[in-house]
């Protein structure tokens, strides 16, 4: 009598259950589609964001809220600086900082898309473009350290002590002659370090990436991992001094080239333009910029790492100008 009706009874709620769940999945998948075109017309967002229940402290957007998204480079995190600096800033400002450590390239993209409020980055050419295009509002010089070229103690290419461009030329020539002698590991992840490295190859009139040179490899990873990889493979790479010092114990790599003025690694803070992105917490970003340039913070920066590494990892620069550091 009943199998048919039972089947009906079963099928009805089951159908709706399945239907609704499939719908949820479909929506979840479809939700990703519009996000694929992120920078589309930032001007279109000038309409104030609709009040959302989930927004912290009941605000309709992040402007004036307690959350500050800081997009920065892996070097500031891997060196341990942010672990100390950010809690200090949170305490003094009452803001909650969401630090996202990515490469400088990705950090700048996050700024362009309004996904970050403030940037702490080290890729001067890209930063200048960012400012020219109007994505950033304020830009302040914070600190510098320097890039160094490291390699195995045996130094098969004999670049120790050479000027930086000459060293790159020798590496390329030696590698081209015998790729078992020289392996150079570049990051090629659009990070500040990678941009610097590629500009140096350009100065040396070599294009290892484009030419797919046998002696050159792209790691695509952060500085810490790239250093480990280079050490294991007894290769050469370029690194910022802070990450190198933080990892030094674990590495069999020596500093081979350093001290050239073109190797300066300069960090700026940039506030994201709130005219382009109304959701940006500009007040918070400005508070961070002022905190970073404050004499007390600058003094702290000059001492950071001295107890652990015997030398500072960063040199404060807020009183200097770009020109002082050889940037134009």
């Amino acid at each position: 009598m009943t199998i048919n009706t039972r089947n009906l009874v079963w099928n009805k709620p089951g159908f709706w259950l399945g239907f609704s769940l499939t719908l949820i999945l479909a929506v979840a998948l479809a939700a990703c589609a519009p996000a694929a075109t992120p920078t589309a017309a930032p001007a279109a967002t000038t309409a104030p964001a609709a009040a959302s229940a989930a927004a912290p402290s009941g605000q309709s957007n992040n402007a004036g809220s307690n959350n500050l998204i800081l997009a920065t480079t892996t070097s500031t995190q891997d060196s341990g600086l942010l672990d100390v600096l950010i809690p200090m800033f949170e305490k003094s400002s009452g803001l909650t900082v969401k630090t996202v450590a990515v490469g400088s390239g990705a950090a700048i993209t996050m700024g362009q898309q309004g996904n970050a409020d403030v940037l702490l980055v080290h890729s001067p050419a890209a930063e200048k473009q960012f400012m020219t295009d109007g994505w950033g509002k304020d830009r302040a010089l914070i600190m510098h350290n320097d890039f160094i070229i490291v390699g195995p103690t045996a130094d098969p290419a004999k670049i120790k002590g050479l000027a930086v461009v000459d060293a790159f030329k020798v590496l390329a020539a030696t590698g081209a002659a015998d790729a078992t002698k020289v392996q150079f590991f570049g990051r090629n992840d659009k990070s500040g370090t990678s941009v610097m490295e590629l500009s140096l190859w350009k100065k040396a009139a070599v294009d290892p990436v484009g030419a797919k040179a046998a002696w050159y490899a792209s790691t695509g990873q952060g500085m810490g991992q790239t250093l480990t990889l280079t050490s294991q493979k007894a290769g050469y790479t370029i690194t910022d001094r802070a990450t190198y010092l933080a990892n030094k114990d674990k590495l069999q790599l020596d500093i081979l080239v350093q001290g050239d003025k073109s190797l300066l690694n300069v960090y700026h803070v940039i506030t994201v333009n709130s005219d382009k992105w109304p959701k940006v917490n500009y007040t918070g970003a400005m508070t961070f910029l002022k905190y970073m340039t404050d004499p007390t913070t600058q003094d702290f920066l000059s001492k950071f790492g001295v107890d652990k590494y015997g030398q500072p990892l960063f040199f404060p620069d807020s009183t200097k100008t770009d020109a002082d550091l050889g940037l134009n």
Binding site: I3, L17, A35, T74, T99
Partner: protein, 225 residues
């Protein structure tokens, strides 16, 4: 070495990170079960056209790379994304969402498989004995409790050990969204290999304890059979 372990255990941050890992992955697993158990049951018991297509999609979902899920969820939750106004990016809630998307297909697929391997005559017999539909389903779940608990463990295992999505949507923010797996990546990047390894051991110990408890329940049920 021993003093090193001691200093790690005395570090309050380690416990915060561990607790957050458990909380986030526990909630994600719970939601996955709430979705996967009914949906998997429906897939196992019902017959509709396109069912094998849905099952194929679910089974493919079991192999979703966490980093792809992370990217999709991040793009959705970023301020520039469609759900940006909720300010969920870089919060534990964002990790829960991503991990649920990872674990739900695992629970769904394994639930469907668990119920489908039951004798189909059991279903008819239960109904023939006058059981209502909910009673029948409860009874089928009880019969399949061993593979269903395995589905739960697989779901939890897939998210507690996942790093790609947590890193991308959580941001590995100290004191806010840093979980065990992202902390391990960070320590590795910093060249603190011993610390990273110890955190890994801690993660394994926790999953071991949880799986031991679940296996105990599972096998206790098995003996009564």
């Amino acid at each position: 070495m021993l003093s090193f372990i001691q200093s790690l255990m005395n570090d309050p941050e380690v416990w915060d990170v561990t607790l957050l890992s458990l909380k986030v992955s526990g909630i994600a697993t719970l939601i996955s079960v709430l979705i996967g158990l009914p949906f998997g049951t429906f897939l196992a018991l019902s017959k509709f056209s396109g069912r094998s297509v849905v099952l194929t999609i679910v089974n493919t979902g079991m192999a979703l790379p966490p980093v792809v899920v992370g990217l999709a969820v991040a793009m959705t939750l970023w301020r520039s994304g469609p759900l940006g106004d909720f300010n969920l990016i870089y919060t534990p809630a964002a990790i829960v969402i991503a991990q649920t998307i990872i674990a739900a297909p695992v629970v769904t697929g394994l639930t469907a498989a668990a119920l489908q391997q039951l004798d189909t005559r059991l279903q008819l017999q239960l109904l023939g004995l006058g059981a209502s539909i909910p009673q029948m389903i409860l009874s089928l779940w009880w019969q399949a409790r061993l593979p269903l608990l395995a589905a739960l463990m697989a779901g939890f295992g897939s998210v507690i050990s996942e790093v790609g999505a947590s890193m991308m949507v959580g941001g590995n923010i100290q004191g806010q969204t840093r979980v065990l797996t992202t902390a391990i990546v960070l320590e590795t990047n910093r060249g603190e290999f011993e610390r990273a390894m110890l955190l890994g051991a801690l993660l394994l110990m926790i999953t071991l304890l949880i799986n031991y408890a679940l296996t105990k329940i599972q096998q206790g049920g098995a003996r009564q059979r």
